[in-house]
C-alpha cells in the first residue's frame, strides 16, 4: 500500500515550457479512481483501463479508508494505490488528494464502479489537440439495466446523450463533463484547486468554472463509459439528493459568471425553470387537478411520451438496443416523478430554508 508523500507532490515531468496541445497519447495521461468500499467493482475498472487501445501512463486508485479489500483488489489489478490519513468525506476530496501525485499533462477521473469501452480514452484524448480545450467527456450508458430505476436512468441517458448533449456540443457548451468519466488538463485543474467540495455536484462546478475562465469543454459521443447505476430506491435517493442539491448549489454559486456565457446562461435558465415548474406540476398540480376535476388529467403524465420516444429510439438504434430501450421506456415516467420530489425538496431546503446539503452520502 502506498501513501501520498506528505512533503507535497513530486516534481512534474513531461510538461512543456508552455501549455501546448496534446496529441492522443496515453503517456500523457494519469487516471484517478476514487474508491470507498468498492472491492467488488474496482478490479474490473482498473482492468478496463489497462486494456485500452491507448492505455494511461498511470492508474491511481484512492482508497478512501475503505473497510473492505478495495486497496488489495486494486493493487492486484495493477493500480497504484494511495490512502489518505483519514476519509476525505467525498469523491471530490479523494480525487483532489491524488492530484498532487499526478505527473502527466492530462488527468482523468473515472468512478470505481465504471468501466470504459476499449477505445474510450483514445477518442477522448483527441480533443486536447485544441489548446483551448481544458476538459473532455464522453457518453454514459448504464452497465446493468434490470430494475425499474436502472431502466429509467438508461432511458434518461439515451435521451440526454443522444440528443441534448450533442446539441450542447454543437454550441460549444456541454452542460456537465460527467464526473464518472472526464479528462482535464492537469495544470488547469491545479490552478482551479482541483475538484471542489463546496457543492454536492463537483463535476458541474468544475465544468462551469472552466467556462468562466474562458476555456472549452468537449463532448465526444463515441467515447463511452459504463457505470453501475443505483439499483434500488435507497441508493437512488442518495444520488438524487446529491444531484438535486448540487444543481441548486451550483446555480447559486455560479449565477453571476453564467450571465456572461450566452448559451450556457440560456440552458441553465430553462433547466432551472423546468426543475421548479415541472416538479411542481408532477408532484402537486396534476394530482390536485385529478382529484378536483377529472382523473383523466393524470394522462398528462404521459403527454410528452411521443417526444421522449423519438430520440430514445434513435440512440437505441445506434447502439442496437432498441428492444431494451422500448421495454425500459415506462420506467422513465416513474423515475421522473421521483426526480421531481427530490428536486422540489432541494429547492425548498437550499433556497427557502437556507439549509445547504453539506454531507456527501455515497450512493453509486
Amino acid at each position: 500500500l502506498t501513501t501520498q508523500d506528505s512533503q507535497g507532490p513530486p516534481a512534474r515531468v513531461g510538461l512543456t515550457s508552455a501549455r501546448a496541445s496534446v496529441r492522443g497519447d496515453g503517456n500523457e495521461l494519469t487516471v484517478i479512481v476514487p474508491a470507498y468500499n468498492e472491492a467488488e467493482t474496482v478490479g474490473e475498472t482498473v482492468r478496463s483501463l489497462r486494456d485500452q487501445t491507448c492505455p494511461p501512463a498511470e492508474i491511481i486508485v484512492v482508497d478512501d479508508c475503505s473497510s473492505d479489500d478495495t486497496a488489495a483488489v486494486a493493487e492486484a489489478a495493477g493500480a497504484m494505490v494511495l490512502r489518505p490519513p483519514e476519509n476525505t468525506g467525498s469523491k471530490a476530496g479523494a480525487q483532489t488528494f491524488a492530484l498532487g501525485s499526478v505527473r502527466t499533462e492530462l488527468v482523468m477521473a473515472v468512478d470505481a464502479d465504471t468501466t470504459l469501452a476499449s477505445d474510450a480514452i483514445e477518442l477522448l484524448l483527441e480533443s486536447f489537440e485544441d489548446p483551448e480545450v481544458a476538459a473532455a467527456c464522453g457518453s454514459v450508458v448504464p452497465r446493468r439495466v434490470r430494475t425499474v430505476w436502472e431502466r429509467g436512468r438508461y432511458v434518461e441517458y439515451l435521451f440526454a446523450f443522444g440528443f441534448y448533449k450533442r446539441i450542447q456540443e454543437h454550441y460549444g457548451k456541454p452542460l456537465i463533463a460527467s464526473g464518472c468519466f472526464s479528462a482535464y488538463r492537469t495544470d488547469e485543474l491545479r490552478a482551479m484547486g482541483g475538484w471542489s467540495t463546496r457543492t454536492m455536484a463537483e463535476d458541474m462546478d468544475l465544468t462551469w468554472t472552466i467556462y468562466a475562465r474562458g476555456q472549452r469543454v468537449r463532448f465526444i459521443p463515441e467515447a463511452v463509459c459504463y457505470p453501475i447505476e443505483p439499483h434500488n430506491l435507497d441508493f437512488l435517493s442518495k444520488q438524487l439528493r446529491r444531484w438535486s442539491h448540487g444543481f441548486v448549489q451550483n446555480v447559486r454559486f455560479h449565477w453571476r459568471s453564467l450571465l456572461d456565457l450566452g448559451y450556457l446562461r440560456s440552458m441553465v435558465t430553462v433547466a432551472f425553470w423546468d426543475a421548479l415548474c415541472a416538479s411542481l406540476a408532477y408532484v402537486i398540480l396534476l394530482p390536485a387537478l385529478a382529484i378536483a376535476i377529472d382523473r383523466g388529467i393524470l394522462l398528462a403524465y404521459l403527454i410528452d411520451a411521443p417526444v421522449v420516444t423519438v430520440p430514445v429510439v434513435v440512440q437505441a438504434s445506434r447502439r442496437r438496443e432498441l428492444r431494451r430501450a422500448l421495454v425500459s421506456l415506462p420506467s422513465f415516467f416513474v423515475l421522473r416523478i421521483v426526480n421531481s420530489v427530490f428536486m422540489l425538496s432541494a429547492l425548498w431546503r437550499e433556497l427557502v430554508l437556507r439549509r445547504s446539503l453539506l454531507v456527501y452520502e455515497k450512493g453509486h
Binding site: 475562465r213 456572461d260 408532477y282 417526444v307
Partner: protein
C-alpha cells in the same frame, strides 16, 4: 431532459429550437472555415431528430383532436395554436429576462469584461503562442 432534472418542458422546446437553428450557425462556421463534414453530419442528425419530435407532437395532437372532436375531420385539422404560442412566448420571456439581468450586471461593471474572461483570454493566447499559431494568424 438532463438526468436528474425532471420533465420535458421548456428545456425540450429550447433544445428543439437549438437543433433547428444549428444549420444556420453551421453555415456561418463554414463561411469562417471552421466547419467540417463531421460537424455537418452531426447537425443534420440532430435536425432530423428535432423534426421527428415535432412530427410526433403533431401526430399526438391530431390523435387527441380526432378522439375528442364530434367531427373527426374537424378534430384532425384543429391545431392548438394558443398553448403552443403561449409556450413559445414563455420561453422567449424567460430568456429575455435572463439577458436583461446580464445587461444590467454588465452595465454595473461599466462595460469591463469580468476578471475570469480576461484571464481566460490570456491563457488561450499563451497556448496559441506556444504553438506558433498567433504568428501564423
Amino acid at each position: 431532459m438532463t438526468a436528474g432534472v425532471p420533465g420535458f418542458g421548456l428545456g425540450g422546446v429550447f433544445f428543439i429550437i437549438s437543433a433547428l437553428l444549428a444549420p444556420f450557425r453551421e453555415l456561418i462556421m463554414t463561411a469562417r472555415g471552421r466547419s467540417s463534414r463531421a460537424r455537418w453530419t452531426s447537425v443534420g442528425g440532430q435536425l432530423l431528430i428535432a423534426l421527428a419530435m415535432i412530427s410526433a407532437v403533431g401526430a399526438m395532437l391530431g390523435l387527441v383532436g380526432l378522439v375528442s372532436a364530434a367531427e373527426p375531420l374537424q378534430g384532425l385539422m384543429s391545431f392548438p395554436l394558443l398553448p403552443l404560442t403561449g409556450t413559445g412566448a414563455l420561453l422567449v420571456f424567460i430568456l429575455v429576462v435572463a439577458k436583461l439581468v446580464q445587461l444590467c450586471s454588465f452595465g454595473a461593471r461599466r462595460g469591463r469584461p469580468a476578471n475570469f474572461e480576461r484571464r481566460g483570454r490570456r491563457i488561450n493566447f499563451e497556448r496559441r503562442e506556444a504553438l506558433g499559431e498567433t504568428e501564423a494568424s
